[in-house]
Symmetry: C2
Subunit: 380 residues, 2 copies
């Protein structure tokens, strides 16, 4: 096949670390396979063009044994094949190989040029702390629920929760635009309630409504949220696609911090010999795609994530990542007030502690329960 | 908690079938958990409102043992909680429980009212056959590749492939908007090439360019595709989100058939005791979300899908599904010309046979190779 290729490669490469499971030869074959499957998807022998062979093929930069029937490969890709767009970047990292066994994406590293294209979160840890007026302590968050309440009932809850001192009040991720709780009314009433409570407390707490689309409406929904004074957005990129979150984070007219919810994403991490590491999905990718806070189920709650997995997410939210700001980990999923001390011991102060149902269990006075939550965190 | 609930339920319910893995009590607990985790996510005891308990909670309609440490539960949900929107419908079916072990969504059934909201594919099997002028035989498809070619080089390939008699020519799913192959040029040159070849053959073959976003641009990309005369779209909903595909399928100004690519979705199906069944993800959900053709890796190729899994997808593309039209299964992923007979034996004639790289391997004359492909299919 005669080819004249117009690509002038920058030489900058995206690198990704994969765990490969199996005996050495099998693992090596998987590494070679990634180089082709994630790029040309074509019989190698038919490709004569040196530019394609040298630049488009992925390259194995490093390969080593890291355990029993477990190898690690560092594979690099020319950044040009990402098209400098998030969906195609994810496609390069894990598109077709998501359908193969024994390959797990552990982490990736962006060259400078890509991190300038992807700005990441609009606020990051520092910006969110400034917005909330909370310079040092762990942030506290809860969810508006249960589903089935009307907008006015949720607004009543919102008022009490903010009065009690919650920093970030998110919608439950199941609140969409249901007939029994229409989106616009919910945002209007709850934003008003949060503002009213803030006037009483003097705090700068924020409400993060859930927006899940439909795809054609999601930008309008975000603008409606902004216009009505809510202070942020809750997005489930598993449902909306990661790039919608990315686009909203980059929208200079919005400038709303985003909380990323893990709904529909669990299948990517639950199989230890396939999919994504917890750190890369809920840490690196969420951060790259514009989350300011990444929610995930904490160990010891209702979900099977381990302590090590949770800590690896937290680590990925804060480690250097080109020019992309650190974001907050937010352990959640059946968290209890009695575990606040443990959570701070484990995560330190750069954390958003998200307690949902248990905040309603302590006693019948929701404002008091919430004050207890805040005081516990302020003391530790 | 005093509640006055405004929901007046329709009584119509969405039902979903889950496989639950473990001993009987454990499986039963998982079924009960789905009813709560996928709806209120809140301590049940605190919910007094009868309307929430009766309507918002999921209901176990049926529970039975189906194998060793394997149970099946049919769970129903009030359709109102879906908000009549695809992202929230997916959220109800599998949002939070995606993060739990031992739960696999096998299938779901829509009540009439929901199937009217979700129209599914714009063409379906019958519409696509009419568009292509191929009433009965299996359809044949291939991909424009490898990545690294320029738009003019791809257009040259496109011309040859259509001249040889390909019905559906899709972009490789890795072709985005790379500097070495810009989206607009590619669509323009390749659409022209396909039109030119169609004039020579008299066929009505179509080109389906890949659109993956960015999210803010994808609708514009689809319009550009339409304006330039390409006959369809290739979308990877794992990268874009399912609802973008759904919105494009429902767009009456477009009316372009959509081919759904499985990139980034494999992790949902590879773990046999979690995630989705192959049939529900690549069959039912792809169909509900507007695909006319659902691509998946065939058994015996480069990917680990089994024959039974592949046949279950094909079955789900054709079975009655409220008022949503049947779509085409498209087995792919390392398919070879020598397997055409086997593929037709297994799938019958309602299939899009997608052969990529192997079409280039048979000999150096691509037009001849493609004619061979078509003749083989016409004869069988």
């Amino acid at each position: 096949m005669p080819l004249v290729n117009e690509l002038t490669p920058s030489g900058q490469r995206l690198t990704a670390v994969y765990s490969l499971f199996g005996e050495k030869e099998e693992a090596w074959e998987k590494a070679r396979d990634i180089c082709i499957e994630q790029t040309i998807e074509f019989p190698q022998d038919l490709v004569e063009a040196p530019m394609i062979r040298d630049t488009i093929f992925g390259k194995i930069e490093h390969f080593q044994r890291v355990g029993d029937r477990k190898y690690e490969a560092v594979i690099s890709f020319a950044i040009e094949i990402s098209g400098m767009e998030l969906p195609q970047l994810l496609n390069v990292l894990f598109g077709n190989i998501s359908m193969k066994l024994g390959i797990r994406l552990e982490s990736f590293e962006l060259p400078d040029i890509l991190s300038k294209v992807f700005e990441g979160p609009c606020c990051g840890r520092r910006g969110l702390r400034e917005l909330l007026g909370v310079p040092k302590r762990p942030l506290i968050a809860t969810a508006l629920k249960p589903m089935g309440l009307s907008p006015r009932q949720l607004a009543d809850l919102a008022y009490k929760l903010i009065l009690g001192g919650i920093d970030i009040l998110k919608d439950d991720h199941g609140l969409a635009d249901q007939a029994f709780c229409p989106f616009k009314e919910r945002i209007k009433y709850c934003s008003e309630a949060v503002e009213r409570a803030n006037r009483e407390t003097g705090f700068k707490s924020i409400y993060m409504p859930n927006i899940t689309g439909p795809a054609s409406a999601i930008t309008k929904q975000a603008k409606y949220v902004k216009k009505n004074g809510a202070g942020g957005l809750l997005i489930s990129p598993g449902l909306t696609g990661f790039d919608i979150m990315n686009q909203l984070a980059a929208d200079k007219g919005l400038r709303l911090p985003i909380m990323c919810h893990p709904s529909f994403l669990g299948s990517y991490v639950l199989n230890p010999t396939a999919g994504f590491s917890h750190a890369v999905l809920f840490g690196q990718i969420a951060r790259l795609a514009g989350a300011d806070v990444t929610v995930y189920p904490n160990f010891g709650g209702r979900f099977p994530f381990t302590k090590d997995e949770c800590l690896s997410i937290a680590e990925a939210t804060g480690r250097p990542m080109a020019s992309i700001a650190p974001i907050f980990p937010s352990p959640s999923g059946g968290m209890k007030l009695e575990r606040i001390g443990e959570v701070i011991d484990v995560y330190g102060k750069e954390v958003v502690i998200l307690i949902g149902g248990d905040l309603h269990c302590r006693g019948s006075d929701l404002v008091e329960n919430t004050r207890f939550f805040r005081k516990r965190v302020e003391k530790l």
